[in-house]
């Protein structure tokens, strides 16, 4: 553990420990949200966007044909 290391300054060693702890907790926060199931609204939205595009394509084509 880093605290056991003899450094020129205790403050330096503490800073490293605290910094690591902050990093761990940030990662926990981030991973907690990232591991939640994705709300349906996002899949629905993407399906809507994709099907709107398909409709546009068809419109374009029929426009060219006429």
């Amino acid at each position: 553990m880093q605290l056991d290391r003899t450094t020129s300054s205790d403050a330096t060693s503490n800073e490293a420990v605290v910094s690591e702890a902050v990093g761990d907790r940030l990662k926990t926060l981030y991973d907690t949200v990232a591991s939640e199931p994705v709300p349906d609204r996002f899949a629905d939205l993407l399906n809507q966007l994709a099907s709107a595009e398909t409709r546009d394509d068809q419109d374009d084509r029929s426009g060219e044909d006429s």
Partner: protein, 178 residues
Amino acid sequence: MSTSFQNGLLAAVPNLRAFAMSLSGNASRADDLVQDTLVKAWANRASYQEGTNLNAWLFTILRNTYYSLMRKRRREVEDVDEAAAAALKSPAQQLDHLHLQDLTEALQTLPPTQREAIILVAASGMSYEEAAEICNTAPGTIKSRVSRARKRLAELLDGQHPDVTDDGSSSGLQALAV
């Protein structure tokens, strides 16, 4: 192309939500940000180069969306925002220890550029180079922002200033590590 792009976007949603939540500190605002990001990403999909880092590309869009929303909100509710900003500067002691909610609040007290830097590097696992690209700055700048953010968060979450530890009374800081 568009089906795999669609799947790629969907697969990125968990990371986008985590980034948005860390950045905005508010779950419903975070999901609105993700939604706006997906709509913009879809509209601009021609500018995405296949084979490059999709998450980084999406993070860039989300970040830009976040900042333009913040600017818009500031214009709309200048007074309310000032009150909110004042509230954010409340004493660090008010932040309890070791809870994720507190960390979310502590993050909100950081300058936005420090906040995004530490989230990208320490939480989402981006390299300094990737984070620099997303934030449109140099890796060295990201590095110093992360370092300042870590220091500030450590102070806030510990409820004391680093000067206090100069005399060796470091028990509070060490408690953070357990």
